[in-house]
């Protein structure tokens, strides 16, 4: 069980019920649970969508797309059944927030799926939990069972005449399945190979029916928006970036942990005050602001508001909320290598630029880090990455290319320091060597 932390600057919306025993359905009801869905049942579907649109809620999985807008793309009339799919395949390196939501407030996720279903006119929802999170799947299975036992799910919910079923689904280990089209393939019992878009899932999704896919944290925010109102929620954050966000502070920090802070909270403050600064008297070298896919920021770039638009202006992305902090003992070449090893391992091989690109980049970085690099490798790595961008069915290729380009561009000198057979300047004596190739 993951431990909880707190800081006075936190604004607790999503994490309000953490540590309150809300996995128990009676306790959840006591803490105002399932009131939002009853309120939503009295609203017109368009009114729900508008409320979510006006709240400024944007996808917490990392893309930051307006949730209300996404819901509005689902056609009102559909010959095929419509679905809501909750994406709990959390696996972006640096990210560990959905885990806490599942662990402490599973009913909020169910309630979020219910409200999304009412908004788009779906009668079936699925909650996909990554395979490694077995203990959370057990929690979710019980939560669903309890909700059915109380008549909250099933036929004629709250006497409204509306039938709504929500089911659990477990994964079996695959980062790429966190991508929406691969997620649907996985739920349909197949390899998680991405689908080409258009058509988008809102039009053609699960088993061909219109499907809304949202991240766990996004859906968990929805009941609070319905209860507190769009105006209240949007004002918690910055313009066009409503609400709060669970930031996962990780890496070289004194107080790592998952903290709920308003959207737009200053990154520098987040690192030095909330996260307690860098341990052992070391100094800050770099920050990966939103999971391993997001381009690295230099210390002079971190005086930035952590919302989607402000971080985008730095050339990086707010991403999934995983803030990974590197102190000055970290080797960027090694960090880039470990990042690429991950993407090579997770690439499904469907799109050639990603399959070949991640493999070549990993091999080059292994050789480079061990002192076998030549000067033209540096430009080649950048060029190769650039040629992966936008050339794949799913964003895994981009996710591998973007951070690599930033590492090369911002830390060129450090790459050059690895040239001419020199040993890595950061390698500690006797440190384990990077394994050449991790078996698939």
């Amino acid at each position: 069980m993951a431990s909880l932390v707190s800081h006075p600057d936190e604004v607790r919306v999503i994490s309000k019920r953490f540590g309150q025993g809300a996995t128990n359905i009676d306790r959840y009801l006591e803490l105002d649970g399932y009131k939002a869905v009853q309120k939503a049942l009295a609203m017109q579907p368009d009114a729900i969508i508008n409320e979510v649109k006006n709240s400024g809620l944007r996808g917490r999985g990392g893309a930051g797309f307006s949730t209300g807008m996404k819901w509005s793309f689902v056609p009102k009339q559909s010959a095929k059944p419509k679905y809501v799919l909750c994406n709990g395949d959390e696996s972006e390196p640096g990210t560990c927030k959905d885990r806490l939501i599942f662990e402490h407030d599973p009913h909020a996720v169910i309630e979020g799926v219910m409200i999304a279903a009412l908004a788009v006119g779906a009668h079936t929802g699925y909650i996909y939990v990554r395979g490694e999170y077995r203990y959370l799947l057990v929690i979710m299975q019980k939560a669903l069972k309890d909700a059915y036992a109380k008549g909250i799910l099933g036929k004629n919910i709250f006497g409204s005449g509306y039938d709504l079923d929500i089911y659990w689904h477990g994964g079996a280990g695959a980062y790429e399945v966190g991508e929406e089209s691969a997620l649907m393939e996985s739920l349909e019992g197949k390899r998680g190979i991405p689908r080409i878009r258009p058509p988008f899932p809102a039009i053609v999704g699960l088993w061909g029916g219109p499907t809304v896919i949202n991240n766990v944290e996004t859906l968990a925010a929805v009941p609070h928006i319905i209860m507190g109102g769009a105006d209240w929620y949007s004002k918690l954050g910055t313009p066009k970036n409503g609400g709060t966000r669970l930031f996962c502070l990780a890496g070289n920090l004194n107080k790592p942990g998952v903290y709920e802070l308003p959207m737009g909270y200053n990154l520098k403050k987040m690192i030095y005050e909330v996260g307690g600064g860098i341990p052992n008297g070391r100094s800050l070298k770099a920050v990966v602001p939103g999971g391993s896919s997001t381009p690295v920021l230099l210390p002079e770039e971190i005086d930035v508001a952590m919302d989607f638009d402000s971080v985008a202006k730095t050339g990086s992305m707010l991403g999934s909320g995983g803030v990974v902090v590197l102190d000055d003992t970290a080797c960027i070449v090694k960090f880039a290598l470990r990042t690429m090893k991950f993407y090579r391992h997770e690439s499904c091989g469907w799109c050639i630029p990603c399959r070949e690109g991640t493999d070549w980049l990993e091999k080059t970085l292994i050789r480079f880090h061990s002192g076998g690099g030549v000067k033209k490798d540096i430009d080649n790595m950048y060029y190769l990455s650039e040629n992966m961008l936008g050339k794949t069915f799913c964003p895994l290729g981009d996710a591998a290319a973007m951070p690599t380009m930033a590492f090369v561009k911002k830390f060129r000198k450090e790459f050059e320091d690895h040239l001419d057979g020199r040993p890595c300047p950061f390698e500690k004596e006797g440190a384990p060597q990077q394994h050449a190739v991790m078996a698939h």
Binding site: G170, A172, L187, G189, P256, F342, A439
Partner: protein, 160 residues
């Protein structure tokens, strides 16, 4: 091929959740593997039959997911994360420590069949790094000494 009653009850229920049978495949494979130890030829044949798939189609799915395996593992599968957040806090050193202690490498199994070792990708414990999973249990904020204790506890479990 017989599975437990719990497995059968869950499987029957799952089939009612989806419009197609094969949709239950991925979670079913993992549950089957948990019971049998690996996705043996027999398990694959049985699940293919139940879901109206060819064995090849089932194998095709198995090979995509990193947790699924056709080869038996040790009773306790020790999965050490060395991804970025864990690496910065000693994940690689922890893996090396486990390799030495257990005398096996990545995807190896001890001769007594008790432990397997695996270097894994991000398990979602970044704020509590370095971390490892033993089967489905999370162990976080690890040091070599804490890891020894964890492994000893699993080792002792069998003697009772």
């Amino acid at each position: 091929m017989r599975f437990s009653e719990e497995f059968e009850a869950r499987f029957s229920e799952m089939l009612t959740h989806y419009p197609t049978k094969r949709s239950a495949l991925v979670p079913t494979l993992l549950y089957a593997q948990d019971e049998v130890g690996s996705l043996s030829d027999e398990v694959i044949a049985e699940l293919a039959r139940r879901m109206d798939l060819t064995e090849l189609e089932v194998r095709n799915v198995i090979s995509y997911y990193s947790m699924l395996t056709t080869k038996p593992r040790g009773k306790y599968n020790v999965q050490v994360c060395t991804n970025i957040a864990c690496m910065l806090r000693g994940g690689e050193e922890l893996l090396e420590h486990c390799e030495k202690k257990l005398g096996i490498g990545h995807k190896g199994t001890t001769p007594d069949g008790l432990f397997s070792l695996e270097e894994v990708e991000c398990i979602g414990a970044c704020s509590w790094a370095p971390a490892a999973q033993v089967n489905y249990d999370f162990h976080e904020n690890l040091t070599n000494a804490k890891m020894d204790q964890v492994l000893d506890e699993y080792g002792n479990k069998l003697n009772h």
